[in-house]
Amino acid sequence: MAVFLIRRLLAGILLVILVASATYILLNYTGSDVARNIVGETATPEQALAKAAELGLDRPLGARYFDWLGTTLSGDLGKSWFNNVPVSTTLFNGLPVTLSIIFGALILSALVSVILGSLAAVRAGWFDKTVQASAVLADSIPGFLVALVLAMVVAVNLGWLPATGFVPFQRSAVEWLRSITLPSVALAFGATAATTLQLRGSMLDVLKLDYVRTLRSRGLSDRRIVFKHVLRNAAPPAVTVLSLQFIGLVGGAVIVEKVFGLRGIGSIATSAAVQGDAPVVLGVVIVMVLIVVVVNLIADLAYGWLNPKVRAE
């Protein structure tokens, strides 16, 4: 077990280095004269040159790359070129926002999809058809549309929940919950649809299996069979889907954060990528890959936990 964990983590670290390196090359590929954008429109050319020198942009790519690799491996992600805030601080501030809404969305979509997916799998007929059709449709609606409508209707017009901003949990739990509710719902929309369909499918598969019939032959109630045995056996693929959803949700978060004016990882990445703020982009990439590695690891462990056969090996 320990060996497995260590191997996975080492592979993860290698992955982080590779992805970040690829991004580094990509970012520097155009040789963007980013210093100009940093100092701003009214600054003088001399100031821009000075800035470029300060950032080391006047040096060859190779040398810069190895410098960057060295400092990054030592754990220093550097400072943003545009706002001088250490990248670690930016990420530290942004992660709670993004993770809050992503986990909010995950929990929401897991709950809803378990309920809808199970019921749809068990109940054929109009209920199943309605669930399927609405899931497919919900999945087809672009995420920004859902977010925009929620922001306009629930926040701006009805004023039930804040339209923008994030309140850290430690400042106020209630306000935190209120601030992430709408973004989470918006984010969960598509994910719920996909997970519901997936869960419905795998539950249907499980329902066809022999042991379900045997369980029924023992006089167990359908509800017990479905929610204990079938769900439990349909869960491992759903966990995999959920972990893939997580990665997908990171993408969705980029859009949702924009709509709700949240300064999470997604909007940090967007603005940094657009500006060419290399240290921030790289920091985001590194953290994202690390999170993905960890999430996949957790998914694997959960998979093992849910599946005794895997656990034994």
Binding site: E41, T42, E54, T89, V156, R263
Partner: protein, 506 residues
């Protein structure tokens, strides 16, 4: 099963909470006297180090903490603030400032001549936009604790106005070396508890501030919100008291009960002709061609339609706030495509000419569309070059394009000149020089008062005749504010300065 129940419970609780908190959207935005003023800024804070500071709407980040040497009145004339009096010598290269003696930084250090010296030298050596405005400062001498003498390498008519803004802000000398936390003498101090770097900056009133009456709010909260929709939504839902919004949101903002004002930051937009030497597109070296380009644009329609009325059609680089402004000049190039064609033909370009421009449709789609269309109408064929966003400014500065859409400028004429006109101006990427202009510039810098104003106007007239660029309009920004506050716009400030915000009830 049990775990699931707990989760379900948590979620329903959450929903209940959000329902209870129903009207709470505006709860945090009560901007009464002694309350909190909630503002949003589209730019991010670049640095607390004034040497790196940006201008524009980023000014608002610095205003709570740092006090400037001077203020400006509604006409842009300098008024006393930290400096009680100011005096130029005859050569206009030595400025003597008398300072208040009762001001202390929030860390207890007195604000004296040494502090001012340290700040000005620190800032001017920096790489920010603020630094660019005072780069002419060659030295600062301390005469006594309340008197500093600022030496200029060259006369800088815009200096006093600059000192009334970020370049004139004074930070505690101790904080200059480690500018992670701003320490100033301003009306507020940064509150770490409500601050999230890069996202939100909370400020609380500085109990020792010498002029508390100008700042009636107990707290100021400034959020960074780059997305215009998010800003509008935050304003509409009462989370903000003031923020800039984009032009097409004006009606929605008004409908939502917000007050909407316009700000004129002194920026002029239009077709900027970089290659007046004709290095890339030889046609542009011909003044008739450049004039033709001016005739080609229907500025009134562009403003009315593409800008949704938020702008003032113009043909000059100087705005009505500026001393160099000559109202009659705006009549110089009335929209006349026929005349444009005639001029082109006269210059030998009866069939027009080809030009490559950067594709800026992702930033300014309407502007680009109008420009391409109207240039096409007179025979100028535009080929658009797709470049990444962040290459827009660098590639222009690198002299890659002969002309392009652009907008820049400053309310102060000298600042505008330093940006656009002079040989070394940032936005003169081909370093085009016109001897007449150069002469006029040196005469302007060494004159004052009405003589200077006359020279400014002469320069302006010449530039328009030379068709230096083809401006369309003076940009108007929109600033929306909630009913809770009363805010007045202020010329020479790109966003209303903090001292112009008052609770509505007063």
């Amino acid at each position: 099963m049990k775990r699931k129940l707990i989760l379900a419970g948590a979620v329903s609780l959450a929903l209940a909470m959000s329902a209870c908190g129903g009207s709470g959207g505006a709860a945090s935005g009560g901007a009464k006297a002694g309350g909190t003023l909630n503002l949003a800024v589209s730019q991010s804070l670049k640095s607390w180090d004034l040497a790196e500071a940006s201008m524009g709407n980023a000014e608002q980040y610095y205003e709570p903490v740092f006090d400037a040497l001077l203020h400006m009145d509604a006409k842009g004339a300098p008024t006393a603030n930290l400096a009680t009096s100011w005096d130029y010598d005859a050569s206009l290269t030595t400025l003597t400032l008398k300072l208040r003696t009762d001001v202390k930084f929030s860390d207890g250090t007195p604000l004296d001549a040494e502090a001012v010296k340290a700040n000005l030298l620190h800032t001017k050596a920096g790489k920010g936009e603020a630094a660019a405005l005072i780069k002419a400062i060659s030295d600062v001498q301390v005469t006594n604790p309340s008197t500093v003498v600022v030496k200029l390498s060259t006369p800088t008519p815009s200096l006093l106005r600059s000192l009334a803004n970020v370049p004139g802000m004074i930070a505690s000398p101790k904080s200059l070396t480690s500018p992670q936390v701003p320490v100033g003498s301003g009306p507020y101090t940064l509150d770490a508890a409500t601050t999230t770097a890069g996202t939100e900056y909370g400020f609380v009133a500085n109990p020792n501030y010498w002029e508390k009456n100008s700042y009636p709010f107990e707290k100021v909260d400034i959020k960074t919100m780059s997305d215009p929709t998010a800003r509008t939504n935050a304003l509409l839902s009462g989370q903000l008291d003031g923020a800039g919004i984009s032009p097409d949101r004006v009606d929605a903002a008004k409908a939502g009960g917000l007050k909407v004002d316009t700000v004129t930051p002194g920026v002029v937009e239009g077709l900027y002709i970089w290659d007046k030497k004709g290095a890339i597109v030889p046609a542009l070296a011909d003044v008739r061609v450049r004039q033709a380009l001016n005739y080609a644009f229907d500025s009134a329609s562009i403003v009315k339609i593409a800008k949704k009325g938020l702008g003032t059609p113009t043909t000059q680089h100087f705005t009505s706030d500026s001393e160099a402004f000559v109202p009659e000049l705006d009549q110089t190039y009335k929209y006349d495509p026929a005349k444009a064609k005639a001029l082109l033909a006269e210059a030998g370009y009866a069939n027009g000419f080809d030009v490559v421009m950067p594709d800026i449709s992702s930033l300014f789609p309407e502007m680009q569309a109008a420009m391409v269309e109207q240039l096409g109408n007179v025979g100028v064929r535009v080929k658009l070059d797709k470049i990444p966003f962040d290459q827009f400014m660098p590639s222009i500065l690198a002299g890659k394009y002969a002309m392009s859409y652009f907008k820049t400028g400053g309310a102060d004429p000298w600042i505008a000149i330093q940006l656009i006109v002079s040989k070394q101006a940032t936005w003169n990427p081909f370093h085009y020089e016109d001897q007449h202009v150069t002469d006029l510039l040196s005469r302007i810098s060494t004159s004052t008062g009405s003589a200077q104003v006359a020279l400014y106007k002469e320069l302006n007239t010449y530039l328009v005749q030379q068709a230096w660029d083809a401006p369309w309009d003076v940009v108007k920004d929109v600033y929306a504010s909630s009913k809770n506050v009363q805010v007045t716009m202020h010329p020479f400030y790109q966003t209303p300065p903090l001292f112009n915000f008052k609770p509505a009830s007063q």
